[in-house]
Amino acid sequence: MNFDLTEERQMLQDTLRRYLADKYDTATRNAILDSDAGMSAEIWTGLAELGVIGALFSEADGGFGGAGFDIAVVFEELGRAGVVEPLMDTAILGGGLIAALGDEDQKLLVEEIIGGGLHVAFAHGEPSSRYDLRRVETTVAADGDNVVLNGRKAVVANAEAAGQLIVSARESGAAGDADGISLFLVPADTKGFTMRGYAMMAGGRAAEVTLDNVSVPASARLGAAGEALPAIETAVVSANVALAAETMGAMESATALTKEYLMTRKQFGRPIGTFQALAHRMSDLLIELEQARSAVINAAGHLETEPRIRDMQIASARNLMGRAGRLVAEEAIQMHGGIAMTQEYELAHIAKRITMADHRFGDTDYHLERFIALSAA
């Protein structure tokens, strides 16, 4: 057993950490949050040039990484700096699905993604699907050489920036069935798309997307008709590793800021960290942080194992991150007091990233139930 990063990953981590420390301070990030685009084109290009996007794809797909630990290394650093740029949406989900299912032509898009020239959004969730990946009601119907899509997609992250949307639709069966789901690559300027975009609580943008007779060639289908669910689940597994690692990185920042604050802030004539009531709570956060680190390692290390084991590890990691993350975010704010409630203080954004990660691809409770179900299987 060996818990050291490989030399390449260590280099990736160092480079990315230096780049973000240099280019992504609180003021810069808060200006990005206030901007109409909700992200920085300059940072995106910078990340692409550093090879950060490429590190999320395997060599076979044109990248130089793509394993669980590559994802974990990248997203831990993004989480530490509170990065809001949509690497998970464009690369892990969008790029991941195209790489997994695309034909030769479609896969050309992966190269564009790695180069930083294309954004993608995964338009899968619907107004009544919550976290259920199978609940797809958007319809697809054949129309000559074309297919016509109708339906609504909910909280589609990165939708407005995306040049291509990956839209799921049901070819057959009922809303909750595993079979019958297909994916389609739809250019954003296709007629029939309506988007209502909005900023999100923890940064980034999303949109409610309506598909009203969106007509695309049948060749826009990604993979075989009605058989997309396993690929969706695999992409979401990677996204869950990314979310867990990002949360862990953010927890590192939250605990570091809190420790620093406890040692410097004085009340009643002494640093508040010398009060045992606070010192013990800080210790609890550090204990949970180590638990979180191990949960991310477990999840990342099982990305390529058989689905049941893999899924148990993922559910376990996301449940633990949800609980530990809530504790760290809430306690870090509480021990800071009012200052952490202000938008301009770094911890406020970090705490929001930690908390709102719990609303993507299943919250703490969802993953607890999933773990129970998988354990019984």
Binding site: D132, V155, M201, A202, I333, Q343, M356, H359, L368
Partner: protein, 396 residues
């Protein structure tokens, strides 16, 4: 002991309901329910309606225009107002300054300020906290130096809630720096229009502008604006904080919040069934409800005691800690119930002319969750309250 409402109490409840049904403006309750942004005018309008009815100041004695309600009536009023989505009564003038003036102010101050508070002529804000003096309030540094018939005030206050609307601020200032911290503090009333007073907004993590910094640069304050005696301000401040704490259990707010969670969980579908039927979610909701049922009775027990003249001490601290834990847990359940629809930023999800995004009420749950982290920080943080409980019950 009798846990049921008496016939009189039931009649009072019906009277409150009928009043709210008739007089609470629908546009205001809609904003409160959807957590849209209440303007200064909205809040003043509601105060005026309550004042007209004589119900604006439940805690004031009748001689000053109060309601002369007993503890149960106040509780009923609080619960009904929350269920009807009435805005909260802004406490700074009515619930904080007024009791101090009644007990420690001179006759001229009572005659001048109290009717103006009731009639909404003056909007008050609170000048207690400073950047270096949060939980350790007595270490405050804002200086007031006597100069003839005036004090010259220099310094900075922070976390001043709704200070952007205020006409006046009641301030703790240091008038004697050479004695023990608590013994050199005075209680001063300052007109916000005085030259040298500057209000700077603080934007909170949910994007809200509800607190401010207030800066004082050579602000001249007439000596008649001193409340009570010079250097006795700490006594008045502590008296005021006791009043601040009694309302903070937030029973009505929690009940209304839990109700909203149930509504959302009843309509959200999870694994093909309403979320409210999910054993895990239902168990968490039930636990909060059980805690709230007990705390509601604790709250009534304590305010009943206060009504017969026993000042709430350690019990107020207990209520504050438990009450805020419960409210924050309900906020957590609400964001979970909303699922992915907790993610949109509230100003875009609930304001403007568009339909709200997601299920009813979902657009504000994350903002409320983050905003209400303040509950365990302000008004004496929960750590300070636990310290008080420990000191009172175990000495030291």
């Amino acid at each position: 002991m009798d846990l049921n409402y008496s016939a009189e109490e039931l009649a009072f409840r019906d009277e409150v309901r009928a009043f709210l049904d008739e007089k609470l403006p629908k546009d205001i309750s809609a904003k409160v329910r959807g957590r849209g942004h209440l303007t200064k005018q909205d809040m003043e309008r509601w105060h005026a309606i309550l004042n007209e009815k004589g119900w604006l100041a439940p805690n004031w004695p009748e001689e000053y225009g109060g309601c002369a309600w007993n503890a149960v009536q106040k509780h009923i009023f609080d619960v009904e107002c929350n269920f009807a989505s009435a805005p909260r009564i802004i406490p700074f003038g009515l619930a904080m300054l007024a009791p101090v003036l009644m007990k420690f102010g001179n006759q001229q101050q009572k005659d001048h300020y109290l009717p103006r508070i009731l009639n909404g002529d003056d909007w008050w804000c609170q000048g207690y906290s400073e950047p270096g003096a949060g939980s350790d309030l007595a270490s405050l540094k804002t200086r007031a130096v006597r100069d003839g018939d005036h004090y010259i005030v220099n310094g900075q206050k922070t976390w001043t809630t709704l200070g952007q609307h205020a006409d006046w601020i009641f301030c703790l200032v240091r008038t004697d720096p050479d004695v023990k911290q608590q013994e050199g503090i005075s209680f001063l009333l300052i007109d916000m229009k005085t030259p040298g007073v500057e209000v700077r907004p603080i934007i909170l993590l949910d994007g809200a502008h509800e607190v401010n910094e207030v800066w004082f640069t050579d602000v001249r304050v007439p000596v008649e604006n001193l409340v009570g005696e010079e250097n006795k301000g700490w006594t008045y401040a502590k008296y005021l904080l006791t009043h601040e704490r009694t309302g903070i259990a937030g029973v009505g707010s929690s009940q209304a919040g839990l109700d909203a969670v149930k509504r959302m969980a009843g309509s959200e579908i999870h694994n093909g069934r309403p979320l409210i039927e999910n054993p895990h979610f239902a168990a968490r909701m039930a636990q909060v409800e059980i805690d709230l049922m007990a705390m509601s009775t604790t709250n009534l027990r304590i305010i009943s005691k206060a009504a017969v003249g026993q000042a709430p001490g350690v019990e107020a601290s207990m209520l504050k800690v438990k009450g805020t834990i419960i409210r924050q847990e309900i906020n957590d359940l609400a964001r979970r119930a909303a699922g992915p629809y907790a993610m949109p930023f509230p100003s875009e999800a609930v304001e403007g002319d568009n339909d709200p995004i997601g299920p009813e009420g979902a657009g504000v749950v994350s903002a409320q969750y983050f905003n209400n982290r303040k509950l365990s920080i302000f008004g004496g943080s929960n750590e300070i309250q636990r310290g008080i409980i420990a000191k009172v019950t175990m000495g030291g």
